[in-house]
Symmetry: C2
Subunit: 472 residues, 2 copies
């Protein structure tokens, strides 16, 4: 018995060390290839110059002429790469327009009349050309509305002023726990008879820059009321004034929702040589807000995704699986592009083994967050986490924590979904503002993101999702 | 025999699990305290506002009135913190002045006469008021000079044009392998009869911003010749022109080295309650180049170091060991401050168990690099690496890779020396330029660096350097 065990152990040992030697050789080859990807991204990558052009088009809000110019520009750029297929995928998008420059005016006994730095939130209705004037009441949460009730809120302008929690290390965590005020503040306040809402801008800074972003009117909202974002400095000022007595504010905005428009996802792909039915997506969203030029949000994600295909061509890499770059339309105020993409993909019985979204800004990448259907997540996560040893030297780690608004719709296909995770500290300085422009993006930081995505695509393509050990 | 083994194993197991429980409780307390440090840094930290004031003084080159104003400002700020001791440590520093705006002028048959974006390197002599004019010869390394020899170099302006290697992920690595041209280019070229040197700016970007930085005349240099830095865009242009034939350049700079001046390190300390003779230093350098306002280099490191003491006071933390903030004078062109500090410390038979330098910019921290005397390094490194589990959640890792120019002189005291390691991608956009100003620093990134330093100081203070397990 004992002898048998010994021999078995010995054989297992030999087998393991031989496997280990193979692993080491594969790791060495993979490390060399990933280094080559980084060299290519940092020296020859096109993302930064594409971003210069893309942002020169201006803000690219769904339905705008600029958004269609961006469709045409990126389609043409993908067309230069010698891909197997470049095409547009039609979708119908909301068409919201901001109208005149917004006015949020305080007339104050001591301070005189002055205007707050303010912009309408996306999807907001207008006040009408005459505007509205009312007393302001400050709250810090949607829950607080119920406590105050119609008696306190009817006819008022509700001012949501809960700051982002700056003690959170991830600014996305801080955003996630404050953004309900912006998204649903108007809808909820209207139930109690409020006439408009002001919302503190979603940013980690105290500054004079107002941040727009989506608001939605829930179906059970009594009536739609205007929703306006105020810079954090002016939110502080308004809050201070309110501590000394009533403050009345005049608001005028002429934003409105027009009829839906036709628009497009832009798609380019390299067909897989061995397993063309296994699809790996890289993507970002092509639309942006109308303020600034959507450089970080999400011009960066678009050009990084395009760069992944460019680099594969440049390096002469022939993928086994199909690699597809998808530039989604309408992430910001409806996500009609990603709905269309997922529906069509499901109808065609496609299988995305993986999708990588970049929509957290063009900053130094620190890894990827992941999600998948719960049936498969633990297995997938454990599997892809093996690659941390190859990605670690580039400061990357595969972690839990979600993917992205556009690719998450592919969960039902049971692949694994990734979100590129860049350093988050500066993102909300720029997010949805006039200052999210090309000069806010650093070339090396952007290109390192493209390299990180391309490296992960390489590993996913080489090893697939379930066969890592067996293919080695 | 077998029974004995079993019992021994059982006892060892129990002992280990009990130790483990203690470790876990200590880890939990440490994690809570470190979280509290981060909260304090992000909400109450003073570094960012101090940096605003410090940079408003202007460039702080050693010997300048601004450098003395910075000494006085930081001394006064430290004085407000209720420390046990705040004092100035005298040192003698070189006093170099830039003089008139530099002229580097090309007169070209096709392009006409135009000026390159150029600045004198630190310590450079001037051309005299009439300037020098000569033909330019391009080289890519100091080694190349020997091959060319006096026949090719005599009477010429030598143009060092080896770019930083942008494929390196760490820009400090890229800097390290290019900077010899800047530091010793003039000294080496003069041996072959060159009349001046132009040096491509040390940056990862192609842009119009010239970067200064130190140059040294070696004792064996035949004679001193002027050394001028040219922006990377203009270095490329000059190189292109040289491919089409001779290019003559006129250089005029009036920089000069004046008589040495008295200056100071600024020091503040909290005396240790149990082991006052074990010193932990946090520091940066107070001087900067005369261009820009030394915001990243190294105003950031100074205010982060001051913030460590501020936060300890704010949190009511009473250190067991002596915590000392040292703002070193003259890192940029002589390091006379750190020499003075180390010499005095050695004379007083002090023992620095650790010193943490921040001199790589106020960007998101990613860890610490370390060094120590070779007798103790392996032991020390292994010991402090245990803390990676506590620092990891903040994106930090303790690694090998050196400390910093000022604290490394303390190696002979056999403690461990750290350099704060921030994300390096943007550092050489700003380094030694007119654009290294307050607006280039992000508040959260800066304050996270102060929190990282304070967290490491807390662990070093609590556990000392050699007694981690035994004190738990």
């Amino acid at each position: 018995m004992r002898k048998f065990y010994l021999i078995t152990l010995l054989l297992l040992g030999l087998g393991a060390s031989s496997l280990l030697a193979q692993d080491k050789e594969a790791d060495r080859q993979d490390a060399l290839f990933i280094k080559e990807i980084y060299n290519t991204a940092l020296i020859d990558g096109q993302g930064y110059e594409w971003l210069r052009d893309l942002t020169s088009i201006g803000g690219r809000l769904s339905g705008s002429p600029q958004s269609l110019a961006a469709v045409e520009y990126t389609r043409q750029m993908l067309d230069t790469l010698g891909l197997d297929r470049v095409y547009l995928q039609e979708c119908t998008v909301p068409h919201w327009v901001r109208g005149d420059k917004e006015i949020v005016r305080i007339t104050h006994s001591q301070m005189g009349s002055f205007d707050l730095n303010a912009v309408a939130l996306g999807n907001s209705i207008g006040t009408g050309v005459n505007g509205v004037q009312a007393a302001v009441i400050e709250v810090h949460s949607i829950e607080e509305l119920e406590k105050l009730g119609p008696a306190k809120l009817k006819g008022k302008i509700v001012f949501f002023n809960r700051p982002m929690d700056n003690t959170k290390i991830s600014t996305f965590g801080a955003y996630g726990s404050a953004v309900d005020q912006r998204v649903y503040g108007a809808s909820e306040a209207s139930k109690y008879g409020a006439v408009a809402v002001l919302v503190r801008s979603m940013t980690t800074r105290l500054d004079d820059v107002p941040h727009t972003g989506v608001s939605y009117y829930r179906d059970d909202a009594k009536k739609k009321i205007p929703a306006i974002s105020v810079s954090t400095n002016h939110a502080e000022l308004l809050s201070n004034l309110l501590q000394n007595g009533e403050v009345r504010v005049y608001i005028r905005n002429t934003s409105m929702m027009l009829a839906p428009k036709r628009s497009y996802n832009v798609i380019g792909e390299i067909k897989g040589s061995e397993k063309p039915d296994e699809i790996i997506v890289v993507g970002g969203h092509l639309d942006s807000w109308d303020m600034g030029t959507g450089a970080h949000d999400d011009g960066s994600g678009c050009v990084q995704s395009m760069d992944v295909l460019y680099m594969m061509r440049k390096m002469g890499y022939k993928p086994k699986r199909t690699i597809r770059c998808v530039l989604f339309m309408n992430e910001e105020n409806g996500q009609e592009g990603s709905k269309e993409y997922a529906n069509t993909s499901n109808d065609n019985k496609e299988y995305h083994i993986a999708a990588i979204e970049s929509d957290r800004g063009g900053f130094t990448p620190r890894g990827f967050t992941t999600e998948a259907d719960e049936d498969v997540y633990v297995k997938h996560f454990k599997y892809v986490s093996q690659w941390n040893k190859l990605l670690g030297p580039y400061g990357l780690e595969i972690k839990t924590g979600g993917s992205g608004a556009d690719v998450k719709r592919l969960r039902s296909q049971k692949g694994i979904l990734f979100g590129l995770l860049p350093d988050s500290q500066r993102y909300f300085d720029y997010h949805h503002t006039d200052i999210d422009t090309f000069d806010a993006v650093n070339k090396r930081e952007l290109q390192l993101g493209a390299a990180a995505m391309a490296s992960l695509v390489y590993l996913l393509d080489k090893y697939g999702l379930d066969t890592y050990k067996s293919e080695k």
